[in-house]
C-alpha cells in the first residue's frame, strides 16, 4: 500500500461536479468542524470558499496558535551543486539550460557553512540538482558531516533515493527530507519532465514514505503550483500529507506552497495561483491538518510573508541564497528568483516586531 492506491481512488473523480455542488452551508460547517474529513478539505479548496476566507483565516490562526504558539521556525538553504540529469521545463537547474554548472568542494561547503552559521540559525537545508553521478551519496554524506559541525538540524532536498540510502544519510546526521512531487497530475507530470530519472512518477511519489521508514524526523512535501489544476493539486498534496502522517506517526510532516516564478528556463505557468488562492490553500491545509508544518520560502515577497505569519505559517527561510556558493561568492544562476531579499537579521527583527518568536534552534544533535 502506498499513496498511489489513494490516488487511484480518485482516478475518475469528478472534481468539477463536486465543486459545483459546494454550498455556503457546507463551507461554514467545514470551517467549524473539530476534525475535517477529506471532503470538508476539498470544500474549503472550492472557488466558493473564497467568500469565507476571513473565517477560514481566523480558524487557521486559532489552530496554529494552539499547536505552535506564537513562534516561527527558521531555516536557511545552502545550494551545494546545480548539476542535474533531468529536464524539467520549469526549473532553472534543468539539464538543457546552458548555465554555469558548479559543485562545491568540501572546503567550499565549509566556507559557506561558516558564513551561514553567523546568522545564528541552526537549521539548514542543503540542496543539489538531481544528479546521482556528480553528487553521489558519498558526497552527500561528506557534506552532511561538515554541516553537522555548524548546525543541529540538517535536511536534504536532493534526488529521490532508496530507503537504504536514506538510512545511510540519516545515520550521518540528516534528519529532514524535502521532496516535492511537483505535480500530482500524471499527464502533466509526463509533459514537464521530459528526460532523466525524474520522469519516474511513481518512484518520486513514494519517496517521502521511504524517507519516513529510514527514520527521518521531518519530511516536507508539496505541489509546485503553476503546473496542474490548482484545486486538485492542493487536494492531493493535503491527502498525501494526511496519508503519511497517519501511517508514520513518529515523523513530522510539512507542506510547502511553492508557486512558479521566473527561473532561468523562462517557463510560463499554466495556472496562476494568485494571492487570494494562495491564502485559501494555506488555510485549508491548516484546517485539515492541524499539526502540519507550513513552510513559506523566500519565493514569496516580504510583505506577503509577513501577513502569512499572522495566519498560519510556521516555518520561514530568511536571507536565503539560491545560487551555488551564494553566501560567499554568488557566481552561478539561481534555481529560482528570490522575492524576499531582506537579510536574515532584517527578517528576524520584523518577526519580533510582529509579535512572534523567531526560533533559531529547534533540535539538539543527539
Amino acid at each position: 500500500m502506498s499513496f498511489l492506491d489513494v490516488l487511484q481512488e480518485y482516478k475518475d473523480f469528478d472534481f468539477e461536479n463536486y465543486l459545483e455542488s459546494v454550498s455556503d452551508e457546507m463551507i461554514k460547517k467545514a470551517i467549524n468542524k473539530k476534525k475535517l474529513n477529506k471532503f470538508d478539505f476539498l470544500t474549503l479548496l472550492s472557488p466558493k470558499a473564497k467568500n469565507h476566507l476571513e473565517e477560514m483565516a481566523r480558524r487557521a490562526h486559532e489552530i496554529t496558535v494552539a499547536n505552535f504558539g506564537y513562534t516561527i521556525n527558521l531555516y536557511l538553504p545552502i545550494y551545494v551543486s546545480n548539476y542535474c540529469n533531468s529536464d524539467c521545463s520549469y526549473c532553472g537547474f534543468s539539464k538543457k539550460n546552458r548555465i554555469q554548472r558548479k559543485k562545491l568542494s568540501l572546503s567550499e561547503v565549509e566556507i559557506e557553512a561558516k558564513e551561514i552559521a553567523k546568522s545564528g540559525i541552526k537549521n539548514i537545508l542543503f540542496l543539489t540538482g538531481e544528479s546521482k553521478k556528480i553528487t553521489p551519496i558519498s558526497y552527500l554524506i561528506d557534506v552532511t558531516k561538515i554541516l553537522k559541525k555548524y548546525f543541529s538540524f540538517v535536511s536534504i532536498e536532493v534526488f529521490p533515493m532508496s530507503e537504504e540510502e536514506y538510512a545511510k544519510l540519516h545515520l550521518a546526521g540528516v534528519d529532514g527530507l524535502t521532496v516535492y512531487q511537483e505535480v500530482y497530475d500524471r499527464d502533466i507530470y509526463k509533459k514537464v519532465h521530459t528526460s532523466g530519472e525524474k520522469t519516474n512518477y511513481e518512484y518520486r511519489l513514494q519517496t517521502p514514505q521511504r524517507g519516513a521508514k529510514a527514520g527521518m524526523r521531518s519530511i516536507n512535501i508539496g505541489s509546485l503550483f503553476g503546473l496542474g489544476e490548482i484545486v486538485s493539486e492542493a487536494f492531493f498534496s493535503g491527502l498525501h500529507a494526511s496519508y503519511l502522517s497517519d501511517k508514520y506517526l513518529e515523523c513530522e510532516f510539512g507542506l510547502s506552497i511553492p508557486r512558479i516564478n521566473d527561473a532561468e528556463g523562462h517557463f510560463k505557468p499554466n495556472k496562476i495561483v494568485d494571492d487570494v488562492t494562495f491564502v485559501q490553500i494555506m488555510c485549508a491545509y491548516r484546517l485539515f491538518l492541524p499539526r502540519v508544518e507550513i513552510n513559506i520560502s523566500t519565493r514569496e515577497e516580504a510583505s506577503f510573508r509577513e501577513n502569512l505569519l499572522g495566519i498560519c505559517a510556521t516555518k520561514f527561510s530568511a536571507g536565503s541564497k539560491t545560487e551555488v556558493g551564494g553566501y560567499t561568492k554568488a557566481k552561478t544562476e539561481p534555481q529560482f528568483e528570490i522575492s524576499d531579499d531582506r537579510s536574515t537579521q532584517e527578517v528576524i527583527q520584523r518577526i519580533q516586531e510582529l509579535g512572534y518568536e523567531p526560533v533559531y534552534k529547534n533540535w539538539e544533535s543527539i
Partner: protein, 255 residues
C-alpha cells in the same frame, strides 16, 4: 507549610510552568513573578548555548528550578541521551521525560518512558515522566525510581481540560508519588478541578503562553491552583474528622 516535594527539594508553589509558544521570551520572567511558579520546563532542543539572545536559559531567573524536557525523543534511548546532554549543559538534575512518537496528537509512549525512567533514575536524575494516565504504569514508574508522575489531562495544546478525568482519579487515588497533571489544561477552572481532585500540582504552558496577557493569566492559574488545593485539604480534614468521630454512632453496642 503545605509543600510539594520532588526528589529532595520542596516547593511551596504547585504550578509548574513552561517556556514554549511565547510571543517574546521576555514575558517568561513576569509570568514566573506573577504566578510564584518555582519550576519551569525547558525543551533541550530549544536551548541554544551559542546564541545568548536566543538562549532560553538567559530569560529564566536563577532561583527557578529548571525542568529540562526530552521533547523530540522518539524512544527511550533518545530520551536518555537528551537528558544527559541537558545535565551537561548545566540544566540541573531534574528531567521531564517526554517520549512521543505520535506527531499528530503528541501522545506519550508509556513503555519507552518507563525504560528511560529506569536508566535515568539510577543515574541520579529526579525523573518526572509524562504519561497516559494509567495506574499500572504509575506503579512501575514508582518501582523504577520516578519522583512524580505527570499524567495528561488531554492532548498537548488542546486546552480541552480534564478529558481523562476518571483515569486521573484512579491515578491520584493509587499513586504513592506526587501526581502533576500535565497538558491540555486550558483554563484556571480546569487547574482548580485537578487540584480539588487531589492532584499535587499542574503544569501549564500553552494556556499561559498564548493568552493575550500571559502574566495575568499565570496569576489567575496560580489563584485557581491555590483554591483547588485548599478545597482538597479541607476535604481531607473533613474525612479524617468523620473517621475519628468523638461519639461513635455504634457506641451503645459496647463493641
Amino acid at each position: 507549610m503545605d509543600m510539594l516535594k520532588l526528589g529532595e527539594t520542596e516547593f511551596s508553589s504547585r504550578l509548574l510552568s513552561g517556556t514554549g509558544k511565547f510571543r517574546d521570551k521576555n514575558e517568561i520572567k513576569e509570568v514566573l513573578e506573577k504566578s510564584g511558579s518555582q519550576i519551569i520546563t525547558v525543551a533541550l532542543r530549544r536551548v541554544n548555548l551559542e546564541n545568548p539572545t536566543d538562549n532560553i536559559l538567559n530569560y529564566i531567573p536563577k532561583h527557578i528550578t529548571l525542568l529540562p524536557n526530552t521533547s523530540g525523543a522518539r524512544d527511550a534511548k533518545e530520551a536518555v541521551r537528551i537528558a544527559r546532554i541537558a545535565k551537561e549543559a548545566g540544566c540541573g538534575n531534574f528531567v521531564k521525560i517526554e517520549v512521543i512518537c505520535d506527531a499528530k496528537y503528541l501522545m506519550p509512549d508509556n513503555e519507552e518512558t518507563l525504560k528511560a525512567t529506569k536508566i535515568l533514575a539510577k543515574e541520579g536524575f529526579v525523573v518526572l515522566p509524562y504519561i497516559m494516565p494509567d495506574i499500572i504504569i504509575c506503579k512501575k514508574l514508582e518501582d523504577a525510581g520516578a519522583s512524580a508522575v505527570m499524567p495528561l489531562g488531554s492532548p498537548i495544546g488542546s486546552n480541552a481540560g480534564l478529558q481523562t478525568k476518571s483515569l486521573l482519579e484512579m491515578v491520584i487515588e493509587n499513586s504513592n508519588l506526587p501526581v502533576i497533571v500535565d497538558a491540555g489544561i486550558g483554563r484556571p477552572s480546569h487547574a482548580c478541578e485537578a487540584m480539588e481532585m487531589g492532584a499535587d500540582g499542574v503544569l501549564i504552558n500553552t494556556a499561559i503562553a498564548t493568552a493575550s496577557n500571559p502574566a495575568k493569566m499565570a496569576e489567575a492559574f496560580s489563584l485557581a491552583i491555590k483554591a483547588g488545593r485548599a478545597a482538597h485539604l479541607l476535604k481531607l480534614q473533613e474525612e479524617s474528622r468523620y473517621a475519628n468521630a468523638s461519639s461513635p454512632l455504634t457506641g451503645f453496642l459496647n463493641l
